[in-house]
């Protein structure tokens, strides 16, 4: 009975995992193919680099080897030269910034409304009953089919592209937040009540922080969708942006420019993803 206070020290688990004393660690099994084994960062780097190298290698073989005509598949050299040219004259930056601006406005507008409304929807049955049927109806409508309507209503300016992004992302975000909010442990709320939390405080004091890691994951995923809808909007009607230069390049058979635009979007997506991963680590360090 005397030792029992020390029984459940957090270190006890790792001690149990260590190899028994006196036994040589001769047959240590490789952890590489152990399901859910902790990753090693150097191994991760090697694996990721290998896949990138493979893709680049295939591209180089197909283009330099003349397997695919340069009219359809540019050589890496051509894309690189195009990149140097367009970075040099500043046009790549201008178009990238134009796209980033639209994505940020559309995504921020959508998220700022979707998060609180989603929390209310997940917490309060009447809110859910009121808006869920409409939301689920709109959610399944293809955004692209609304683009002509938006052009008719809003024109082809920045507002149109922002609208397409909001329309594409908002309703999905709403449902994802509401589901996360609805799924929090009910006894967490009960515990809060017994500690003096009022009913009106539950949404912001309990539901919001409890849902925050899921909200941040949701933002990371839907940021990718925002990029998709941006390009859709830019392909149809725009006078700047990465989607716009792709479309213009297609008309001039400048396949290297299309590749450059796609690579830039991919790169920006990678940066966005990294940003949200860091944001989650910063804002929700308890749920790592």
């Amino acid at each position: 009975m005397a030792q029992d206070l020390a029984m459940e020290a957090p270190g006890s688990r790792s001690r149990a995992e260590a190899s028994p004393a006196g036994q040589a660690p001769a047959r240590r099994r490789s952890r590489t193919w152990t399901p859910f084994a902790a990753p090693s960062s150097s191994q991760n780097f090697v694996l990721a680099s290998a896949v990138w190298a493979l893709i680049a290698g295939c591209w180089a073989a197909l283009s330099y080897g003349g397997v695919v005509s340069s009219m359809f598949l540019p050589t890496p050299t051509a894309v690189f030269e195009r990149a140097v040219a367009m970075i040099g004259d500043g046009s790549l930056l201008t178009h990238a910034l134009s796209s980033v601006q639209v994505v940020m406005i559309g995504f921020a507008l959508s998220s700022l409304v979707a998060v609180p409304v989603g929390l209310w929807m997940g917490t309060y049955a009447p809110v859910r009953a009121a808006i869920e049927p409409v939301v689920n109806f709109i959610r399944y409508l293809p955004v692209t089919s609304f683009v002509p309507l938006f052009i008719l209503w809003i024109g082809i300016g920045l507002q149109q592209r922002v609208t397409v992004i909001v329309f594409g992302v908002f309703f999905q975000q709403l449902v994802m937040v509401a589901d996360s909010a609805r799924g929090i442990a009910r006894d967490l709320v009960n515990a809060a009540y017994t500690l003096g939390t009022k009913r009106s405080e539950v949404v912001w004091h309990i539901v919001f922080p409890a849902t925050l890691p899921a909200i941040l994951d949701m933002l990371r995923v839907t940021a990718g969708w925002a990029w998709t809808y941006l390009v859709v909007a830019e392909l149809v009607a725009a006078s700047s942006g990465l989607g716009y230069i792709s479309l213009r390049a297609m008309r001039g058979f400048q396949v290297d420019t299309i590749f450059l635009a796609v690579l830039t979007i991919g790169f920006l997506g990678l940066v966005t993803d990294l940003f949200f991963r860091l944001l989650r680590r910063k804002l929700a360090p308890w749920a790592m």
Partner: protein
């Protein structure tokens, strides 16, 4: 020592202790809970349960699973609504949850986004206590539960036993009139459970809180309680009450004493009737 003063086994309305009434810290009278089962049938979870807990009394409810003992606790906490009956804490009738009834749950209900320190000070903070006052209270409870060096840890980094210790500290830091405990050690392994029982006894003897503790573990009930209330299932009723006059402070060795074993046999018999009736 160890006199068994058993209230008559009244299968109808629960036993009302003569000295009850206004002096009780917690008074439950004629509380029933009926909910709709499948196919329009009504399920009587609790049938006219009456129970008075005196100030600073450690009262334990034992009963077979499904006897409504946890439901009763949720009703007292105001987390669920009784179909009929009255409940009062220190003479004030209660209808909704409030900080006067602290609760420790069976599952882990620490707020995962708050550190151990922030979890414990959550209640005092809600009540508008100053930061200096709060930190004094938190430090004292951290020392009592032996987790001072874990103050800045998040719950996810703690073991199950540690989490329940913090949950007890969190409930007590709010200085509730009554502490409700719903099988708080049910999910823990037996060694950790024994540690927690010792810790709870020590804390209770220090603070002398009014406690209503629900468990299905008879040893736990006898080790902790001043009184053990035995409930029957379907519908949930109070079947018997036993005063546990075993001397305090108590230790685990108590389980080997003849008085303890005699009481345990009594309760086992009462519960065995229950199980036999079911089959």
């Amino acid at each position: 020592m160890g006199d068994v003063i058993e209230a008559p086994s009244v299968p109808r309305a629960g036993t009302v202790r003569p000295e009850a009434g206004r002096s009780a810290a917690l008074s439950v009278s004629n509380v029933s809970l009926v909910y709709a089962g499948g196919r329009g049938r009504e399920v009587v979870a609790l049938d006219r349960v009456s129970l008075d807990v005196s100030p600073n009394e450690f009262c334990v409810i034992v009963g077979p699973s499904g006897c409504g003992k946890s439901s009763l606790l949720y009703l007292i906490a105001g987390l669920n609504e009784a179909t009929s009956g009255q409940m009062a804490v220190n003479g004030v009738s209660v209808h909704e949850p409030g900080p006067d009834r602290g609760m420790v749950f069976q599952g882990y209900t620490l707020f995962p986004w708050l550190t151990v320190r922030q979890n414990i000070e959550y209640g005092p903070k809600r009540q508008g206590m100053s930061a200096a006052e709060r930190s004094g209270i938190v430090d004292r409870y951290l020392a009592e539960i032996g987790l001072t060096q874990f103050a800045e840890h998040y719950p996810a980094m703690l073991s199950g036993g540690m989490r329940q210790r913090v949950a007890i500290a969190r409930a007590l830091a709010n200085d509730p009139g009554v502490l409700l405990m719903d099988e708080p050690f049910g999910a823990l392994d037996s060694q950790t459970r024994a540690t927690m029982q010792k810790l709870l006894l020590r804390i209770w003897e220090q603070h002398k809180k009014t406690v209503l503790f629900v468990t299905h573990d008879i040893d736990e009930a006898l080790l902790l309680g001043d009184r053990v209330v035995v409930m029957s299932a379907r519908p949930g009723r109070i079947k018997a009450e036993l005063s546990i006059a075993l001397p305090r402070p108590r230790s685990m060795d108590l389980a080997l004493e003849p008085d303890f074993i005699a009481l345990k046999r009594r309760i086992l018999d009462l519960l065995r009737d229950e199980i036999d009736e079911e089959h």
